[in-house]
Symmetry: C2
Subunit: 331 residues, 2 copies
Amino acid sequence: MSQWPICFEDVVAARDRIRSHLPATPLRNYAPLDGAVAAAGEAAGIRLLVKHENHQPTNAFKVRNGLSVLTALSEEESRRGVVAATRGNHGLGLAWAGRLLGVKVTICVPLGNNPEKNEALRGMGVELIELGRDYDESVEVAERLVRERGMRLVHSSNDPLVIAGAGTVALEILEDPEARRLDALVLSVGGGSQAVGALTVTRRLRPTVAVYGVQAERASACHDSWHAGRPLSTATADTFADGLATRHVYEMTFGALREGLTDFVKVSEEEIAAAVRLMIRTTHNLAEGAGAAGLAGVVRLRHRLAGRTVAVVNSGSNIDEATLRRVLSQA
Amino acid sequence: MSQWPICFEDVVAARDRIRSHLPATPLRNYAPLDGAVAAAGEAAGIRLLVKHENHQPTNAFKVRNGLSVLTALSEEESRRGVVAATRGNHGLGLAWAGRLLGVKVTICVPLGNNPEKNEALRGMGVELIELGRDYDESVEVAERLVRERGMRLVHSSNDPLVIAGAGTVALEILEDPEARRLDALVLSVGGGSQAVGALTVTRRLRPTVAVYGVQAERASACHDSWHAGRPLSTATADTFADGLATRHVYEMTFGALREGLTDFVKVSEEEIAAAVRLMIRTTHNLAEGAGAAGLAGVVRLRHRLAGRTVAVVNSGSNIDEATLRRVLSQA
C-alpha cells in the first residue's frame, strides 16, 4: 500500500474549492528576523520567509482543512452535519466553514474545557457538547453521535480531505514569487496534516525542497516514532504549544512523514517560547506555541540551513492572554 | 476656502493606484469582542467590525499613504527621491513603497532613536540619517535635504496624496458587505489623515455614518482644539500610543475634522492598554497603542453606540516587546 494518503491533484482540487473564500495568505521576509536568526547562529544568513496563516479568519491554517471537508460533502452529509472532538483550531475552522456554508457543526469538548475557547466556538454558532472527563472521552461522545445521528466525523488528521486542505499552504508557498529559490520548509507537526500536505506538493512540484518536521520535546511521539521507524506513544503530551499536544502517531500521516521528511527535530518549551517572542519582536505578528514551533526548528537547524532560503508557517496565533504574558515574562 | 483638502475622487484614484500592491484587508466581526464590550457597558450590544490594517506588509495602514504618494510622483520627483522625518509607521510605509517602486527614500530620525525601528527601516533599504537631538531637529534636517538635494518632502499628514491614501481604509470598509448596515466609525487621530480620509468618503457615499475621533489624554492637542474651536498646542505628547503623539494640529486636517466629526473623545493610558489586551484576547491580533485606541474609544462611547454597527481600525501592530510586556502585566 502506498504511504501517501492523498495525491497532488487532491491538493489542487481542495485549493479550487476554498480559494474564493480564503484568499492566499501573505508570504513575507523580515530583515530583522533574518538578522536575529543569523546572530543566534553566528553562521551565514538564512533568508526566511514567513507564511501568515495567523491572518486567516480563525487565526489558524486549520480553517483550510475544515473548509476543504465541508465543500466536498454530499448533499446528504451536508444535511446531517459534521462532528469533531477538538479543543482548538480544528474546531474553529470547522465552525467557520459550517457557518459560511450552512452546515451544522457539532463540537465535543471535555468538561472543564477552556471557557474562552468554548465562547469562541459558540460565537461561531456551533453546537457545543461538553461531556466526558478528558479528550479521549469526548472522542467517544463524537463517535456516538456518528452512530446515533448519522453525522460525518471529521478527524483533525486522519482524513484525506483534511490533509488536502492543509496541503494548500505549501501549494501557495511554492506558487509565490518570493519562494522561487526555496531550499527548505520547516514545519511543526501535531497530527501531521500540514507536513504531509506539504510533502505531497513538494515531491510533485519541487522535489529539491527539503521538508523538516519539528515537535515539542514534551509531546514527541511522532518525532520519536519517526526516528525509531515504528509507532510509539508517550504517556503525556504536556506542552504549552497545545496545537502540537498529541500522544500518538496517526495512521494516515505517519508513513508519508517517514518517507518524505529530510529530518525531524524536537525543541524545548524554552525554545518555543523564545520563537514566539522572536516572531512578535521582528514581525509584529502574534503566534501561539504551535505557530512559532517551525521558527524554533529553524533556529535549532540554523547551521545546516545557513545560506539557504527557508519558509516557515506562522500556523496560528490563538494564544491565550495568560500564556502570552508568561511567555513574554521569560525574556 | 473649503475645509476639505481632498475630494472623494482623490481617494478613488489613490485606491486605483495602490490596489494591485495592497489587497483589501479583512473586516471581521468577533463574537467574544462584542460580548466583552457589551458586558463592559451593561447596555444593548454593539456589533463591532475590526478592519485589520495590522495585516499590511508594514503592519500598519500608513503603507497606503506612502504608496499613494510614490505612485503619483513625476518622473523627475521619482529620480530625486523622497524624504521624511518620522520615527514610526509613516517611515516604514514610505520605505516599503520605495523598495517596491525603486524610488530612493531617505528617513531622518533624531540621535538615540529606537534601534529596533532603525533596524527595520534599514532592512527595507532606506538611507537613514541620524542627526539632531529631537524630532523637531530631524524635521529641519529633512527640510535641508529638500533644499539641497531637491528631494520631495512627504509629511505624515499635511499632504493631499497622504490623506487620499489613508482614505482608502474607509472606502474599503464601506464597500465591504459586512458593513452594509454601518452606523459609525470610531477612529484614532494622530495627524488626522485617516479620519479626514474617512470623512471624505462617508460624506459622499454614506452621510448617515457618524465618524468619531479618539485621542490619548496625554496627547490631546487635536481633541482640545476641536472642542475649543481653534488650534491649541500641548507642551508634551507623552503617550505609549506613540503613533498618536502629536503636540499640534495640522493645517490640512483640522478644518475638516472640525466640520465632519460627530464627536471627539479622549482616552487614558489605562484605557488604551485595556483595549490592546482586549484586542489580543478576543481577536488574537496584536495591536500597538494607536492601533487599539479606536477600540478604547468605542468602550468609552458604548452607551451612545448601543444597538449600533460600529467599525474600528486596528491601524497597526508595531508595538515593541517591552511595551507589550508592560501592557499585559497591567491586567
